[in-house]
């Protein structure tokens, strides 16, 4: 696995905190490699994540971003790219 950059780590930490809040689980219960759906986050609820991320980081994302990157690991890596490209 490639090294995690500080920015990527920031996204991961933020997502872990958010997920732990939404799913009412302790943060250390959340594995960044396990799909959101396995924590009980259904596909419709996953769609609501994009707005929170946009709101927190000022990115412009597609609502389906959590469908296409369905783990914290994949999503954080994507967000690093999205931030660099300005959008998407």
């Amino acid at each position: 696995m490639p090294a995690v950059t500080p920015l990527e780590a920031e996204y991961r930490d933020w997502l872990v905190t958010r997920l732990s809040g939404y799913l009412r689980r302790p943060e250390n219960d959340i594995n960044v490699c396990i799909p959101f759906s396995e924590y009980g986050m259904d596909s419709v609820a996953a769609l609501s994540l994009f707005g929170d991320i946009e709101d927190a980081f000022g990115l412009y994302l597609e609502p389906t971003v959590a469908w296409d990157y369905p783990t914290i690991e994949a999503l954080a890596r994507f967000l690093v790219r999205a931030g660099k490209d300005g959008e998407l």
């Binding site: 939404y22 799909p35 009980g40 259904d42 596909s43 419709v44 609501s48 929170d52 609502p63 469908w67």
Partner: protein
Amino acid sequence: MVTTPRRSAPAQLDWPLPHPSWELGARLDRELGDPADDAGVHSYQESIRLDEGEEFPAEQLAALDLWGLPEYYVPAQYGGRLTDYQDLSQLIRMLARRDLTVAIAHGKTFLGAAPVFLSGDHAAARRLARLVRRGARVSLGLTERTHGSDILAGELTAEHHGDGLRLNGEKWLINNATRGRLLSLLTRTSPTGGPRGFSLVLVDKDELPDGTYRHLPKLRTLGIRGADISGVVLQDAPVGADAVVGGVGGGAELVLRTLQVTRTLCPALSLGAADHALRLAVGFAQERELYGRTLAELPLTRHTLAGAYADLLLCEALNTVAVRSIHALTSELGVTAAVAKYLVPSVVDDIVAELGALLGARSFLADHYAHGRYQKLARDHRIVGIFDGNTMVNLYSLVVQFRALARSFLAPADHRPRLASLFDLERRLPEFDPAQLVLVSRYGSSIMGTLPAALAELRAEAVDRPALARAAELAEELDRTARELHERIATCTSTVGDAAPSSFEDARRYSLCFAGAAALGLWLHSHRAAECGPTGELWRDGLWLEAVLDRVLRRQALGGPARRSAPAAGGATEADLSERLEARLIEQYQRGSLFSLLPCPVAEGPVSC
């Protein structure tokens, strides 16, 4: 089989400003013939006969094909006549006021074809358009025996085989699964599933080899008893690669985008049912004598009828804005459709129950009164709140958007969609662009967002027109209620497994506030033109607006259907509002007009009294 065109019916001279879509609905109704004429194919009597025999309305559907109804399911870019979804909504509404079974059995083709027409796959859309225009029935297969609304649990698989795919599995509780020639099926294309693990496959049964599919028997149902509610089993059914519409893995997204449009059209079924129920109730109240007077002269009866009428107008106002928003506010349809598909069928269920109480035993008899139409429509309408996304599904889809909805209401982004054409009935709508449909609205609801400015505008108008003062007071209360609601839901983090009952209650309240905002916008932007038309009395002095806002707030306060008794305070105003509204109701009934904000004659013609 003949449809008797009734073009020769005397023209109503007093409809100088009709809306083209309401006019189209009236033309369909007229050309289907007077439903009270027992000899007609589209008569009430025939509907009841078919229902009692649990018989599919094949002759009625064929007559609608001849009339050209399928043309309105096909977008103009693919050769059909669908350019304005208001047309389709009014056509469905007029069909539904006669017979919900027929409307649902025919309209299903639109539901089945819509994902293909909205997918952007032009080749598939053109192929399907040709078939639909020739009268082929299309069905939509989402649900399975052990998976209802949880469509991403589906087990019907599509696996690559040679140049195409092989389908295996079953879809169940599918409207027209047996009668439909084509099936739009949501299939699992990845063993692990997930939101990118499903694809939409368009299957033409006529092209499947024998023995690769079979139908499951029609199920007996409480309502729409003649409908073909059945299922299909596919066994190594081969389809070409071009049968996949919207890309491999794109099925869930395509279906959810399509449902935004179809859920916005379903309320037309409820509006038709409400018209039917209210017409029966008014007719009964006027002829029924009790204690030396007609039922219609009793204050409680008049209050009940006026309340049901106000509820119907509330539903129509919301639905008019919702259907127009398919064109004018496409990117927010995820919110708008959920509100309309939840609220309209629920309110109409209440209308049907309350008017049923007024009719008493007559609502219960199978054939003694008015052919037994009331008990049929009451049974039939139950399905509208269940199919195409049930009440809980729609409320939940609002619950998961609460944070975004609150964010955009309480601190609006610098985002100003142009809403003038949305609310102004005289304005042409922009062409619908399916590419603008997104699963979640980025800016919450701009319709709800108009509330504060709309309130200010109404207050300003009320300065010169004291008759608007009460409507302005109600709008103020609505604005306050909406603000409190958004503050409460701002931090909601629910998933389907743990959403609190209170969040569903908040979604219900959200829908009511939304309906109030839609009504306010519609009145403000359209009243000047509408006041000059044949339904002008309804619009003048904000009459329908006041009545509708009153209903919205009562439902907010009570956590359920509006209470029929007037509150002690403001009793005089209440009684006055109720009386003025009832006068319009009776006028529309006697003129033989649809119960509507806009003029639309019905085929029965005027009622002689």
